[in-house]
Symmetry: C2
Subunit: 111 residues, 2 copies
DNA sequence: CAGCCACATGCAAAGCTATGAATATTTCTA
DNA sequence: TAGAAATATTCATAGCTTTGCATGTGGCTG
């Protein structure tokens, strides 16, 4: 696997490694939205949303369409929301409970 | 979406947000391996591999089986390697080329 | 039990990320 | 052109990550 691809992939995951950016991606999964819609529906400051969108944009995960003085953001590819859904699937089904169980076992063991 | 789940998901993505950890996950996708195997096949120091494995473990992505003085690590769930593959798919097919194209357009525009 | 493996952990410096506040830019409208 | 609306950028700081190096630890084997 070429390093360049790995780095790109790591960058994609890095974009998704923050709850608010995941929320933004999820909000965009249902279609394009402008900054104001995002910042009010997600209850995050305008400037913060704009900053996070530029992170997502510079990694190529979202694109913008400007119209008047609105900037409509959307996912560059719907596969991205599939990726997030799969992550959710993983987290919800297994990892959380498995880790909790393991911590219980470990704490029992250490006594 | 409950914040707790989002935070867990962000943590999973965060684990995958580094090329070497992705390489480790990929190496484990083909079955359990001990630390020495990983550190020599990936050309990373023993201590580094051990540290990264503990990151992956504390987020519940891998598990250990200890036998003698070996520690055999494996993915806790095969869905994780599916997730990585999907990420690769996304990166290889679209994002890279799309971003490059966009940068070309942008640099043309600014002249 | 001495010494060697295979691993794990602690530490510290360098670098990166998150985030609010203030400010700038762009575009529309009167 | 002035002003307002929507978005973008800059800056500063606190906090987290990375990563090498040195050291610690548990389990074998002679």
């Amino acid at each position: 696997m070429p390093m360049r691809v790995l780095e790109n992939l790591a960058q994609v995951f890095s974009c998704l490694s923050h709850p608010n950016r995941i929320r933004i991606v999820q909000a965009l999964a249902s279609g394009e939205k402008d900054v104001t819609e995002l910042h009010s529906s997600l209850d995050l400051s305008q400037s913060y949303v704009s900053q996070q969108l530029s992170v997502l944009k510079s990694s190529g995960l979202v694109k913008v369409r400007r119209e008047g003085h609105h900037a409509y953001y959307s996912l560059r590819h719907e596969k991205l929301s599939v990726l997030v859904d799969q992550g959710l699937d993983l987290v919800e089904q297994d990892i959380v409970r498995a880790r909790e169980l393991e911590q219980v076992i470990e704490s029992v063991r250490s006594h």
